[in-house]
């Protein structure tokens, strides 16, 4: 029961306390103490009527004590008094306290925060994901990760990053930082598989939880729905991505009967609702591309000209290495391999050096053009750039057949 309250309330309580004190680390510490007190007291005294109000009151007292011990500046002391009064009123009234988690998300993804800290900060503060797990998902040592998080929280407190949901004109850009940080949680899980053949993404569940929260909080915004649809489409293919023996299966050869129908249906509903807003964005386009791949389950075919069209739009909105490579693949699959090769050659050399999908695409296009030896080289290079052993084996196999 205490764990259940903890999971459901942690982010809300951290957000509420830190929005009022400006001190995320202080709020987390105080709340940690409050949960410890609950573990001691609740089994003996019974669970209080308003568990969250109880936790809030204890945490608030801890923050005031800590504030006194640290002889905080007068200003901060004033804020603590303010929290105390707020918490008292809320506890007495037994009311729901305001949900500040959305503001906390925007703080975590604030442009003044180190981009490498944004996603970990969100996972830790909003969802209460353990720092050790975040560190292992991001392939850094727990010490390095905790240092990164501490630095970000100090910055929030010292520079006074405001807890607010931004308004126009900064809205669009600020929201894109939040979306990018959530998507990074999804793709980070992807890259950090403990077992190469496992299809489990370390943080995929957390990323989707954040995505669902965001959609609930801003139902009129199409891009959060686009992002959630994108993650759902990828998630739907979890069981089709590797064979039973652990071999990698590329998307266009996956068995559609292994895809999750309910997840695809949910993604499609979100995408339709988003389209009604008539405001196209990066994540809606990426989800739409995945939607066309998913339609193969019904039609048995992939509409490559349509995918190419969507990539053209994506390149205009977000000309990243991923969308440029995707457009080239679209050209090749739509029967225009010579143009595909030209498009690949236009990508600046410094962006392609370590990007595996570029070399895989290049190998594929060269193979279509009958340039076997060059194709073999590109595919071998792609193989050398992946961390996933199953993917590496797949690329090496293709390199061999292209060269042979």
């Amino acid at each position: 029961m205490i764990e259940m309250v903890a999971r459901q309330s942690y982010g809300r309580l951290v957000a509420y306390l830190s929005a009022r004190s400006g001190d995320v680390a202080g709020a987390e510490d105080a709340l940690g103490d409050a949960f410890l007190a609950a573990l001691e007291r609740w089994p003996a005294d019974g669970i209080p009527d308003k568990p969250e109000a109880w936790l809030l009151r204890v945490a608030r007292n801890r923050m005031i004590d800590a504030g006194r011990r640290n002889k905080v500046r007068l200003e901060a002391a004033g804020q603590l008094e303010h929290i105390a009064r707020d918490a008292e009123v809320l506890a007495a009234a037994g009311e729901e306290f305001p949900d500040e988690r959305l503001a906390l998300l925007f703080v975590c993804a604030h442009p003044a925060i180190d981009p490498a800290a944004r996603t970990p900060l969100m996972l830790q503060t909003v969802l209460g994901v353990e720092a050790g797990r975040i560190a292992s998902a991001f392939l850094v040592s727990p010490a390095a990760m905790s240092q990164r998080l501490v630095r970000a929280k100090n910055k929030i407190r010292e520079a006074r990053v405001p807890f607010r949901v931004p308004e126009l004109p900064e809205w669009t850009e600020r929201l894109s930082f939040v979306l990018d940080a959530i998507y990074a949680a999804y793709t980070t899980g992807w890259e950090s598989l403990a077992e190469p053949s496992s299809t489990h993404h370390a943080l995929a569940g957390e990323a989707m939880l954040l995505g669902r929260m965001l959609v609930r909080w801003m139902p009129a915004e199409p891009e959060p729905a686009g992002l959630l649809a994108l993650m759902l489409h990828c998630e739907a293919r979890r069981n089709a991505r590797y064979t039973r023996e652990g071999a990698f299966v590329p998307l266009d050869r996956q068995d559609p009967t292994l895809w999750s129908r309910p997840l695809i249906a949910e993604a499609e509903d979100l995408l339709h609702a988003a389209a009604a807003c008539k405001s196209m964005g990066r994540y809606q386009l990426e989800a739409a591309i995945q939607s066309i791949h998913a339609y193969r389950a019904t039609s048995g075919k992939i509409d490559w000209p349509e995918i190419l069209l969507l990539y053209e739009g994506l390149v205009r909105l977000a000309p990243g290495i991923g969308s440029l490579t995707g457009r080239a693949v679209g050209l090749a699959q739509a029967g225009r391999p010579a143009e595909a090769l030209a498009a690949l050659r236009e990508i600046p050399a410094e962006r392609i050096a370590g990007y595996q999908p570029y070399w895989a695409a290049r190998g594929h296009v060269l193979e279509l053009l009958g340039r076997g030896e060059e194709a073999r080289q590109a595919l071998a290079r792609a193989a050398s750039l992946t961390e996933d052993a199953a993917m590496r084996a797949h690329l090496l196999e293709r390199a061999q057949s292209a060269g042979g």
């Binding site: 500046r73 604030h110 003044a112 010292e158 520079a159 006074r160 990053v161 405001p162």
Partner: protein, 122 residues
């Protein structure tokens, strides 16, 4: 909350600081800060060549000609503003006329060490 806006710029831009347009833009910006009631202090700095650096070690005073560090871009001016939070400070920093060619570093002031004049009410 007080923030320092530290303007770092290159020699090339520094040499153009007395251009009519640059001066006018600087003056207008200062007036805007005053009008908004956020201005606390601020000044342009003379060239790093005019700087003298001093250290006291073992009660011995050492005086060097020149700035603390010779860098291609250097501190050319500063402002201190009082605003509610970082977003407000960043907004003012972005409006600084030098922001389009120089770099404006925004640093919170600790506040308790030196008394700084309160901003004038507008």
């Amino acid at each position: 909350m007080k923030y320092a806006l530290l303007v770092h710029q290159s020699q090339e831009h520094f040499e153009r600081r007395d251009d009519q347009a640059t001066l006018a833009a600087g003056r207008a910006y200062g007036e805007a800060l005053q009008a908004a009631g956020v201005f606390v202090a601020g000044a342009g700095l003379a060239s790093p060549q005019a700087a003298t650096t001093i250290t006291v070690r073992d009660a011995k005073r050492q005086v060097h000609d020149g700035p603390y560090a010779e860098t291609k871009e250097f501190l050319a001016g500063f402002g201190i503003i009082e605003v509610p939070d970082l977003d407000a400070a960043l907004e003012w920093a972005a409006r600084h006329p030098a922001a389009s060619f120089a770099k404006i570093e925004v640093r919170p002031l600790l506040g308790s060490h030196f008394p700084v004049a309160a901003p004038k009410a507008s």
